[in-house]
């Protein structure tokens, strides 16, 4: 039982890193970024190639991976997300289809681009420490890399969370999420807020990709499963709710482990989708989300 909890919590940390960014983007733009898994993939590739091909020390290679993720986030925001809010009225009814198609298209584009450039091969990154090392956590034997990676991930997650909760720009992000027009009137530059949000979420996803790349090697489809799971997490926790997405991430991480151990290992990746469909049917607003008025 302890083993399930610890393993689940480790995966939960990485889901939380992805879900936090997704939730931030949903908060300010009210869209789901279907290309979120590709930020993860970019991080994984950067880290894996730097550590394997160029022999960079693994702790140092996390930083360029994060930078690549941030850059990808900024570029995507600048090139594709602007119409969602700059021509707000005109796009009012179109934004859902625009957002779904553009981010879905971007996801396919990046996957196939990676396939074109790197080929369909797996490149696994080097561990933070040699992957064979083991350590004891609460009576469970785990690979030291996993433990270190999840601690590093959790501290970055915490830092990002505190940044959003307590700094000026973080407050600006919350303001825009609550009321775009109100925030604009109060003098908040929503363009910059949106850039910041995409930067943060790209960076978090890429770091998650980098830290997981020794376990789940970099490949064109590397981002697909983490991404869909983080979608599930965001829906489970409540769209746009940051604490909700973190709680949801740990919950899903543990639920999956329970499912894999007690129900079926083959279908371990399918439980997340069942959770999604059940959530949408039973409590569409998620654990901590709110319903919005439509009329």
């Amino acid at each position: 039982m302890m083993e399930i909890l610890v393993t689940g919590a480790i995966m939960g940390t990485f889901y939380a890193m992805l879900a936090l960014g997704l939730s931030l983007i949903f908060g300010i733009l009210k869209v789901v970024n279907f290309a979120h898994g590709e930020f993860f993939m970019i991080g994984a590739y950067t880290y894996a190639i730097l550590t394997r091909t160029f022999g960079v020390t693994s702790f140092l290679a996390v930083l360029p991976a994060a930078l690549m993720g941030i850059a990808a986030g900024l570029i995507v925001e600048r090139l594709l997300m602007r119409p969602l809010y700059q021509r707000y009225m005109e796009w009012a009814t179109l934004r859902d289809e625009y957002a779904v198609i553009v981010t879905f298209g971007l996801s396919l584009f990046l996957i196939n681009l990676a396939n074109q450039v790197f080929g369909p091969y797996q490149i696994s990154g080097a561990g933070l420490v040699p992957l064979r090392e083991r350590m004891q956590v609460g009576g469970v034997t785990l690979s030291t890399h996993r433990v270190l990676a999840s601690i590093l991930g959790a501290s970055i997650l915490l830092a990002a969370y505190l940044l959003i909760k307590y700094t000026y720009w973080g407050k600006a992000v919350q303001a825009v999420a609550q009321n775009r027009f109100g925030a604009a009137i109060a003098g908040i530059d929503s363009t910059r807020v949106s850039l910041i949000v995409f930067g943060i979420s790209g960076g978090l996803a890429a770091v998650a990709g980098a830290l997981l790349s020794p376990i789940f090697p970099a490949e064109p489809f590397a981002g697909a499963f983490p991404a869909v799971k983080s979608f599930v997490v965001v829906v489970l926790g409540g769209m746009g709710s940051l604490p909700g997405s973190i709680i949801g991430a740990y919950l899903l991480g543990i639920l999956e482990q329970v499912g894999a151990v007690y129900v079926s290992y083959t279908y371990r990746d399918t439980f997340a989708f069942l959770v999604l469909i059940l959530t949408l049917l039973l409590r569409p607003q998620g654990i901590l989300g709110e319903r919005v008025r439509e009329v």
């Binding site: 005109e90 009814t93 009329v295």
Partner: protein, 245 residues
């Protein structure tokens, strides 16, 4: 006694900690033209949403010609002849103006399908939208969209038209067009229920007014009497400024 067209009895609605409506009751007779006034957040739009079926009331019931309609879904209520004009215009931007009108006509089905196109033309003529009938509704100006929404409301010959702020942000000329339309519809025996901040407009066209304040029905009666009612004056008209709209 004849059954009233709309009979709202003891309707309450709560959103979280906010009591939006508490125990609202009134009746609308066939062929009446009634205005609903009240300050912001007094529950006017909520009341319309409850009548339309977008919200279910916590208590009370609503009857249309004696038939209970609360609990039905919005489209069923619309088909019983309750048309709604929204405060924020809800037109179908990527359909042409004519298609916008036809959708309502077909969906509600109170008018023979053959005469729908004809009726749409008549209404659009009166609202001076004739030149735009084949244009996508997205290409209309803000005021014209409001007119289209207004026209679509009357497209299916509703038994009861619920207009939410029809005059807000509309050019005086267009406002006059709308007022004329409402009055001629009323003259032909139609029932119209208007929610508006525009007291002068309501006073000039509605023989009867209902006043809401904080979800409570303050006054209900002939216009002259309601605008002189002390409670109404205190809660609303006293602080009313024309620029509020």
């Amino acid at each position: 006694m004849e059954v009233p067209l709309l009979w709202v009895q003891n309707i309450s609605k709560r959103f979280g900690g906010l009591q939006a409506l508490s125990g609202v009751s009134f009746k609308l007779e066939e062929g009446e033209l009634v205005g609903l006034i009240g300050p912001n957040a007094s529950g006017k739009t909520t009341l319309l949403n409850v009548i339309n079926g977008y919200h279910t009331p916590d208590s009370g019931w609503i009857r249309l010609r004696g038939e209970r309609i609360n609990g039905l879904s919005p489209f069923q209520i619309a088909r019983k002849g309750v048309a709604r004009m929204f405060q924020i215009t809800h037109i179908f931007p990527r359909m042409s103006v004519l298609e916008n009108m036809l959708t309502v006509g077909y969906a509600i089905g109170r008018i023979p399908a053959k005469s729908l196109v004809h009726r749409a033309h008549e209404i659009l003529d009166q609202l001076s939208l004739r030149d735009w009938i084949y244009e996508p509704a997205a290409s209309l100006s803000g005021g014209q969209r409001k007119l289209l929404e207004f026209g679509a409301c009357f497209m299916a010959a509703p038994r009861l038209a619920l207009l939410d702020e029809p005059f807000a942000g509309v050019h005086p000329e267009l406002k006059a067009v709308m007022e004329r339309f409402i009055q001629s519809y009323h003259a032909e025996g139609g029932t119209v229920f208007i929610v508006s901040h525009d007291i002068p407009a309501l006073v000039s066209i509605c023989p009867r007014l209902i006043a809401l304040h904080a979800g409570v029905l303050l006054a209900d009666g002939p216009t002259e009497q309601v605008i002189r009612d002390e409670a109404v004056l205190e809660s609303y008209l006293g602080s009313y400024t024309p620029s509020e709209v």
